[in-house]
Amino acid sequence: MHEVVSFVNLDILNIIYLFFVGFVGGLVSGFIGSGGAFVLTPAMMSMGVPGLVAVASNMCHKFPKALIGALKRAKYGQVDVKLGVVMGISAEAGVMYGAHIQESIKRAFGDAGSNLYVSVAFVVILGIVGSFVLLDAFKSKKTENLQQEEKITKIARWVQSINIPGTMVYFKSLNAKVSVLFTIPLGFATGMLAATIAVGGFIGVPSLIYVLGAPSLMASATELVIAFVMGCGGSFKYALHGLVDIRLSMLILAGSLFGIHLGAIGTTYVKPFMIKLVMGVIMVIVLFSRGLMVPVYLSQLGVIQTLSEPTVKVLKNTSFAIMAFALLSGAFIVLKAMWQGIRAEHKVTAREALEHSKE
């Protein structure tokens, strides 16, 4: 089953590039539980790395990163390991099925068909879930300034009220018993999305918040456990075929571990709606990036008139630039919120010290 793949030569510029993209991706992942992967795969491919090797190497950096992030955030009491593992195992099944669908589409319609499927999945899912998350972030911003507790949705209240004997499991993040018949399909969908667009968290985190009723901070931290379980199995599967370029994985990891600690620390300084805000902003911007590529693939499939070479190039470059902008915007919001939080805390500490010295 071993496939012969050619690996790129790494020069110092490539190394710095991977480190930097890894850092920004790690920062966002530490904060919202996922992200970065959608930029890393195309970033590696732009260096000349074959598509499958880029996907495999990306996944092999993702699971150790998620592990470190999950351990860090567990220290802050934000992780629900049981929920993460239960969802992670079903996500693994979703990854397998998602990969199978991808292969079938590729066989039937070739590369352009497969790319079109990925882009349409991006646009539809990010369009629906992303705009919902972003709108909710703005709504939560208003209400959370008045009250600290996050409200759980009607769906989540209903899910938590259903009792199916023999399937009920208590999850601490929900502070309720929920049937695994609800968590399994959610995990499966997370895995399917991970296999399709590389970021399962765009389904995983919103479903933990809105369908199961987990607080935002716990949802994004628990997503790291899901990503670890899913990524570990997925990486092994790719490694069996000799597709992991460990140099790429570890160089991205070098930057992303700096980022993930920072992102995780950032969550302790912000109000919960910030998680939704960062996630929503990234999802909506990425949606435009992928949307731009739809005409390119449609023209390759002959559905619409063939686009000229320069047009395709402009669309491709703009799409990649928007994607990078999405990630950088997320990173900027995280760093800004953290900076403000740290400054506010320092001010309080300084004021207390001053008052203490006056006494």
Binding site: F7, L71, A239, H261
Partner: protein
């Protein structure tokens, strides 16, 4: 003065140096022996454990290094008290 001193946490310089050195060593081996590493790591089959084991090893060492690095710079999680 004594109270102030006790409230200042010791910076983990030693741990940063130790994990940093091991981390740099690991990356040096990886990059200097690229040919050898790639030769074994992509054989598939049972060799598939190699990249997974490497990922765990690097994440342990480099994860500790990066964690202590930010602590050394004074960037830590918010203390429990509420900021208003």
């Amino acid at each position: 003065m004594a109270g102030k001193k006790s409230s200042i946490k010791k910076k983990p310089y030693g741990k940063v140096a130790l994990f940093g050195a091991v981390s740099i060593a690991l990356y040096a081996v990886l990059l200097m022996q690229q040919g050898l590493v790639n030769d074994y790591f992509v054989r598939g089959g049972l060799y598939a454990f190699l990249p997974i084991a490497a990922a765990f090893l690097f994440s342990y060492v480099h994860g500790h290094f990066t964690g202590y690095f930010w602590t050394m710079l004074g960037i830590e999680a918010k203390k429990k008290k509420e900021v208003k």
